[in-house]
Symmetry: C2
Subunit: 216 residues, 2 copies
DNA sequence: ATTTGGTATGACCAACTGGTCATGTCCCAG
DNA sequence: CTGGGACATGACCAGTTGGTCATACCAAAT
């Protein structure tokens, strides 16, 4: 499918040097996006020579694919973990804990989330299709399994359209995280860099609304 | 606040030439974003010389501000129009018609919507703050007025958190439009370039879900 | 002491960027 | 016929980009 993005030389490197390079790369791609990312800045941040970078990776896209695969692994891990640790709860508690986990992820890996957003909205980023497909598939499976178990337990209104429910959850959760991560995005929630306590209250309000609906 | 982005020379131009330049600019910015947009490509598309461009506008940012103001005007217009033409309907019908109007806008002005997305997620675009604030303000006022009238009419569940409802609507609507405009974004709705009929059905399903909630 | 293989380095390259400007064209007033 | 102002033009500029490469370094093996 796609050749190894990193050269063997890179894996022989002392761990701290690898880390420096990966950190610099993640930082650069996360806050500039693929095309605006500058390899000159990257090597400056990492404290290595330009030539060295090309001993580690075949080209810019190779660097990108590498850090993108690391990011993907982390996301997968997190999703699996949340799914397992909330397996015993009822549907709406699971939703609440999932959103909380999302916020935690975003706070501990802000650059990875930023990278994710960059990829999502720059149609020309390499691997975009592959990346989005993977993430959406995981999200879909995640919400899907929550929903289908909730349905067999009778926690859902009967006759609900499953695709619609999936879409709704995906939309609301994604937007919630976006609003927490990106300034000037949400109308009234003011989630960006809001204190933990407010975020928790907002999460509960939202889940309530999803559960009970808007109508009288 | 900010000087006129277009030079007088530009307004003296024959209308079709103006249109050619504006079209080329919108196209370039919409599918490349601000920084990746190339003025060389732009002038090639418009069929004018590089130098001419700088007789019309002071610099790249000036061009951007100009087309961005045109876009803003169009969005404002559309919102006002929808608000007025649905004034007589009940809350959930208004929601439905609003979403339909959004989809129509996106179909008739795909490049403007694309530009909007680019601005939303590229933190470094000029005028970003100003632009987002304006759009969000309009969206907020729009949904806000819908909600508060619905409340006085008793169409809403009492005790609903208004900010939460606003956030929910904004999130779902925006994501719906995004999914319709950008490939590979939604999990299961497959809205991208879907036929009119499917889109209408999805809208109805979503509004239903918002109205009645998820819980049994 | 010499050779060898992996790694480090930064000057260098072509391609492109946003932006400038001397020159040219054209039309209209004198 | 002459002059002047508005507009057109593309060669040109300095700066940056992703990428290359001859050279240098340094350990271990001979």
């Amino acid at each position: 499918m796609s050749q190894e993005p990193a050269r063997p030389t890179f894996s022989h490197l002392p761990a701290d040097k690898q880390a420096r390079v990966l950190n610099a790369a993640l930082a650069e791609f996360a806050d500039q996006g693929y095309h605006q990312a500058s390899l000159n800045r990257l090597v400056a941040r990492a404290g290595i020579a330009k030539g060295s970078l090309y001993q580690y990776f075949p080209n810019k896209e190779g660097i990108f694919r590498h850090i993108f695969q690391l990011a993907l692994k982390l996301v997968r891990q997190t999703l699996v973990e949340v799914k397992e640790t909330t397996a015993q709860e009822d549907f709406f508690t699971r939703l609440e804990k999932s959103l909380q986990a999302g916020v935690r992820f975003l706070q501990t890996h802000p650059r990875i989330y930023s990278l994710y957003l960059k990829i999502q909205f720059d149609r020309q980023t390499p691997c975009r299709q592959e990346f989005l497909a993977t993430v959406r598939r995981h999200a879909g499976e995640y919400f899907g399994s929550l929903i289908s178990r909730a349905r067999t337990r009778g926690e859902l209104r009967p006759g609900i359209s499953e695709p619609a429910a999936l879409f709704l959850l995906d939309a609301v959760f994604d937007r919630f995280l976006q609003a927490a991560a990106v300034p000037a995005l949400d109308v009234t929630f003011n989630l960006h860099q809001a204190p933990e306590e407010i975020i928790q209250r907002r999460i509960r309000e939202l889940i309530d609304l999803l559960r009970e609906g808007l109508a009288a």
